[in-house]
């Protein structure tokens, strides 16, 4: 099951904890993978770890031209993009009353607008191939909200509505579009939380622990697989029961 041999995947944010594990999981399932991120060094380190069937393409997701160029670079490297995983994301938390326009806009640009542009950029190839998998990494806070994260929650909820709309448009062409919504996962992003914050969060997680990036990667692998062809427009919540939605 979940064999991606012969498929080509593009993963953004592959230099991060979750993105790295997503790339590992797709690669292990047989896919050729293009790793994208802003920093070259961690991408090259991951590429070296994976060995063959791997390419690296840096991209600044806040820059429209850079985003437009990424799918083309991935196609040039691999021949096609059959699986797109929009995983890259940033936070710029602040209380709503203190949030600047720049804090708002930068998070919307990187998390939501780049996802839109990358989806648009891979659709032509997927439509022609009559097969495609798009997996957008949302967040539990896109569904529940979170104080201090008005911008981030908006971007992640926006991904869900966008994904459903696109899913409806392209379902007849064999292309599925889904979201995975992680809860609190052990990554550099959640390492910024202090112990008190972490303890408070864990009281809300029935499973009683933070999630592992590999547990997100497993959900992505499923949605990227041929077996998930009848699953589209959905959000798979991987949050230890923190929000049962």
């Amino acid at each position: 099951m979940f064999d991606l041999s012969g498929k080509n995947a593009l993963v953004t944010g592959a230099s991060g904890g979750i993105g790295g594990d997503i790339a590992r999981a797709l690669h292990k399932a047989g896919a050729t993978v293009t790793l994208s991120g802003t920093r070259l060094a961690p991408l090259e380190a991951l590429a070296a770890e994976l060995g063959d069937r791997v390419h690296v393409a840096t991209c600044d997701l806040s820059d429209a031209a850079s985003v437009e160029a990424l799918p083309k670079a991935a196609v040039a490297a691999m021949g096609s993009v059959d699986v797109l995983v929009n995983n890259a994301g940033i936070t710029r938390d602040n209380l709503f009353m203190r949030m600047s326009d720049d804090e708002w806009q930068s998070v919307i640009d990187v998390n939501l607008t780049s996802t839109f542009r990358l989806c648009r950029g891979v659709l032509r190839g997927m439509m022609k191939a009559r097969w495609g998998r798009i997996v957008n990494i949302s967040s539990v806070v896109g569904a529940t909200g979170n104080p201090g994260q008005g911008n981030y929650a908006a971007s992640k909820a926006g991904m869900v509505g966008m994904s459903k709309s696109l899913a409806a448009e392209v379902a007849s062409r064999g292309i599925t579009v889904n979201c995975v919504a992680p809860g609190f996962i052990t990554t550099a992003m959640t390492d910024k939380l202090n112990d008190e914050q972490k303890a408070r969060i864990l009281t809300q997680v029935p499973v009683g622990r933070m999630g592992d990036p590999g547990e997100i990667a497993a959900a992505v692998l499923y949605l990227a697989s041929p077996e998930a062809g009848y699953v589209t427009g959905t959000t798979l919540h991987v949050n230890g029961g923190m929000a049962m939605i």
Partner: protein
Amino acid sequence: MSDIADRVKKIVVEHLGVEEDKVTENASFIDDLGADSLDTVELVMAFEEEFGIEIPDDAAETIQTFGDAVKFISGAV
């Protein structure tokens, strides 16, 4: 019939799965040939590839019938 018209017709027949004799000058892709809006996007993509041309979005919107397509492409190649 011109070579361009033949090639356009072949694409339309293949893509929409319609009989060749239904693809007439004034046949509307959507109203007469059963295309949905996504089909029209795909037809334009196929025309672009077949003829090595770029069809901008505003021009694509004016291509409603087989005759429109042949006319536009004849002027663009």
